[in-house]
């Protein structure tokens, strides 16, 4: 529990850093670190598949896509962010954390839940046999992403 909480705090810290850091590349790397921590958190929650996916896809693939975009849009450093934000953001965020903690404490035990029986089956079965329609959806969304990229990067001839 202690280790988990420390990891969770690290996750939030790196995520906030990713938003606040000025250098885009450092932001992307901070985001990757946060994903790594989240993956480890998943492992420790007996969710190894989610952990693997989080680390390889989000910390890996998505970070690469971000770095690619940063490289292709070199003027990114010239966007001047508001200086005020660097003060206001931490203050508002800490205020929220306090409210969050109080709300959670008051909610303890108030959210009713049906007790669920022990889970049966292997993960493969749950994914392939339990949520098969989701797999169709996954194929569809991958197709959507691929066609979107193809459409957005097509050779532009004259159009109005």
């Amino acid at each position: 529990m202690i280790v988990q909480t420390v990891l969770l705090i690290g996750l939030v810290l790196f995520s906030v850093l990713a938003i606040l850091l000025r250098d885009l590349l450092k932001s992307a790397i901070s985001l990757a670190a946060a994903s790594l921590l989240l993956g480890i958190i998943f492992f420790r929650m007996n969710a190894p598949y989610a952990g693997v996916f989080e680390i390889s896809v989000v910390a890996g693939l998505i970070t690469v896509l971000f770095i690619l975009t940063i490289a292709l849009t070199k003027a990114g450093d010239e966007v001047r962010e508001s200086r005020l934000v660097n003060w206001v953001f931490p203050l508002v965020f800490v205020a929220f954390i306090v409210i969050d903690a109080l709300v959670m404490k008051s909610l303890l035990g108030k959210v009713p839940a049906l007790a669920s029986g022990p889970e049966s089956g292997a993960f493969g079965d749950v994914l392939w046999k339990g949520r098969t329609f989701d797999l169709v959806g996954q194929i569809a969304v991958i197709l959507a992403g691929v066609f979107s990229v193809l459409a957005l990067f097509r050779k532009r001839d004259k159009h109005d």
């Binding site: 959210v111 839940a113 959507a144 066609f147 979107s148 193809l150 159009h159």
Partner: protein
């Protein structure tokens, strides 16, 4: 074979880029239109007979082994499938000519078909997470379709649309996670049953608020509407037609209605919230539409306003109100689809969307002017067109349910709607022919054909409204009203 509605567009979409390398225009046009036509025929013909024995829950089997894909087809989903395939078919017909100058037609049709597959999947899903997933499928396809022209405005509109839409999806997922936590299940009926057993007023309220925020943004209800007036005008005309006519209704109104009526159940508090949001959208968007000079922007605000009508009707909760709301959903899909298509014809002929620059186009584009008039009168609610009947039913339902104020507001907004539509008609089509347009020609064949098809439907359904209601709308309303009966009053919050 209900899975056809999702599988067919996906398979054709997957094949299209390869086909596109060989044949740039003819075969993609053919494939896309044939797919939509097949979907329409299946929905119209086979769907009705499938439903003869009541709602169908189909469990698929693949090569003898049972595959766990459970799709549910009831009156409401069949109704939506019909709307999607009808307006989708008109849009693909229109695209045959309109998308010529955008290029990459195969790619366009592929995205379009994925969007259709997403919408169909959403409609047929039986559990909460699948609803979310197919909603995202349609959304991801739509972002690229809005930006398809790659001009500055389109990219800006698509980016803002994407940002807001992703936040909405996050809230929807959060609500789904909470429901999963409470009930241990994601299936509609299972969750509904479990919630009835639990005493969870406040948390259900929070989950409802999240759903309202998420689906409300997808449906462009005020105050979550900011993305629509930029996104719908910037998209190519057939995409605007599908976005305004279908996507906001399927991923917004349909999903909202399914969750609130069949899972949560429509409590009096929820009913009030929905009716208020609907009324606010109805009024505010109509007022905003008045000041617009861009033809498509005016149509976009009108969409927000009409979605307000639909949500108002469904929010009443009585069988008549739900039937009116659903009928208006269908009619608006047809009419708004028609209007965006005619605006595309006008834009292609004159190169502008600015109403002040147009004038007297009826002399050069008579068919477009006529079909535009049909669409405008339909949405404004002029008899004997279809829009009149659906609005009448909503107003009667309001009076019957004891909300005379809402009814009066609805009538007033109808008058306002008529006014700004006649404005479009007058500024663009009637009046003196602006010298610049002396040489424009009527829109190409397929574009005209698509608009004529929709216009004929508007007229036909207006005349045959009672049989349309009994065969299509009533089963849909019954499917929803059943859910209302079962769960009303369980929480009293």
């Amino acid at each position: 074979m209900i899975i056809l509605f999702v599988a067919l567009p996906l398979v054709v979409a997957g094949v299209l880029p390869l086909v596109g390398k060989v044949s740039r225009r003819v075969v993609p046009d053919l494939l896309a239109n044939a797919t939509l036509l097949a979907l329409f025929v299946t929905a119209a013909v086979a769907g009705r007979s499938l439903l003869a024995d009541g709602p169908v829950l189909q469990q698929l089997s693949w090569l003898g082994e049972a595959v766990n894909i459970r799709l549910a087809l009831d009156g409401f989903s069949l109704f939506m499938l019909l709307a999607v395939s009808l307006v989708g078919l008109a849009a693909t017909l229109f695209s045959i000519d309109y998308m010529e100058h955008y290029g990459a037609k195969a790619n366009y049709y592929a995205l379009f078909l994925v969007m259709v597959a997403g919408m169909n999947g959403l409609v047929l899903a039986t559990d909460l997470f699948s609803v979310y997933l197919f909603l995202e499928v349609a959304a991801v396809a739509s972002y690229a379709l809005v930006a398809f022209g790659l001009g500055h405005d389109e990219l800006e509109a698509a980016f803002k649309y994407l940002m807001l839409s992703v936040v909405a999806s996050a809230f929807i997922l959060a609500a789904i996670a909470v429901l999963f936590g409470m009930t241990g299940s994601l299936d509609f009926t299972a969750v509904a049953q479990a919630l009835r057993g639990l005493d969870a007023g406040a948390v259900v309220g929070i989950a409802s608020a999240f759903f309202l925020l998420g689906f409300g943004l997808k449906a462009a209800l005020i105050p979550f509407h900011a993305w629509l007036p930029d996104a719908h005008p910037s998209a190519p005309a057939p995409i605007s037609a599908v976005l305004s006519g279908l996507l906001i209704k399927v991923s917004g109104v349909y999903a909202l209605t399914r969750v609130f009526l069949n899972v949560f159940g429509l409590t009096p508090a929820l009913s009030t919230v929905l009716m208020t949001l609907g009324a606010v959208s109805m009024v505010a968007a109509a007022l905003l539409a008045l000041g617009q000079k861009d033809m498509k922007r005016m149509l976009a605000y009108s969409s927000i306003s009409q979605v307000g009508y639909i949500v108002l009707g469904i929010g009443i909760g009585t069988p008549l109100g739900i039937a009116g709301g659903l009928f208006h959903l269908f009619n608006h899909a047809l009419a708004k689809g028609l209007l965006f298509l005619t605006s595309g014809s006008v834009q292609q002929a004159t190169g502008t969307r600015n109403l002040d620059e147009m004038g007297g186009l009826a002399k050069r584009m008579p068919v477009t002017a006529a079909t535009n008039l049909v669409g405008a009168l339909s949405i404004a609610g002029v008899p004997p067109l279809n829009g009149f009947w659906s609005k009448l039913i909503i107003i009667v339902a309001l009076i019957q349910a004891g909300h005379p104020v809402f009814a009066v507001v609805a009538v007033l907004v109808s008058v306002l709607t008529l006014w700004y539509y006649l404005l479009i008609q007058r500024k663009a089509f009637f009046g003196k022919l602006n010298e610049r347009w002396a040489a424009v020609k009527e829109a190409p064949f397929w574009m005209t054909a698509a608009t004529v098809l929709l216009a004929l439907l508007c007229v036909g359904i207006g005349i045959l409204f009672s049989s349309t209601i009994t065969t299509w709308v009533q089963p849909a309303a019954d499917a929803l009203a059943g859910g209302v009966q079962a769960a009303i009053g369980s929480w009293g919050f």
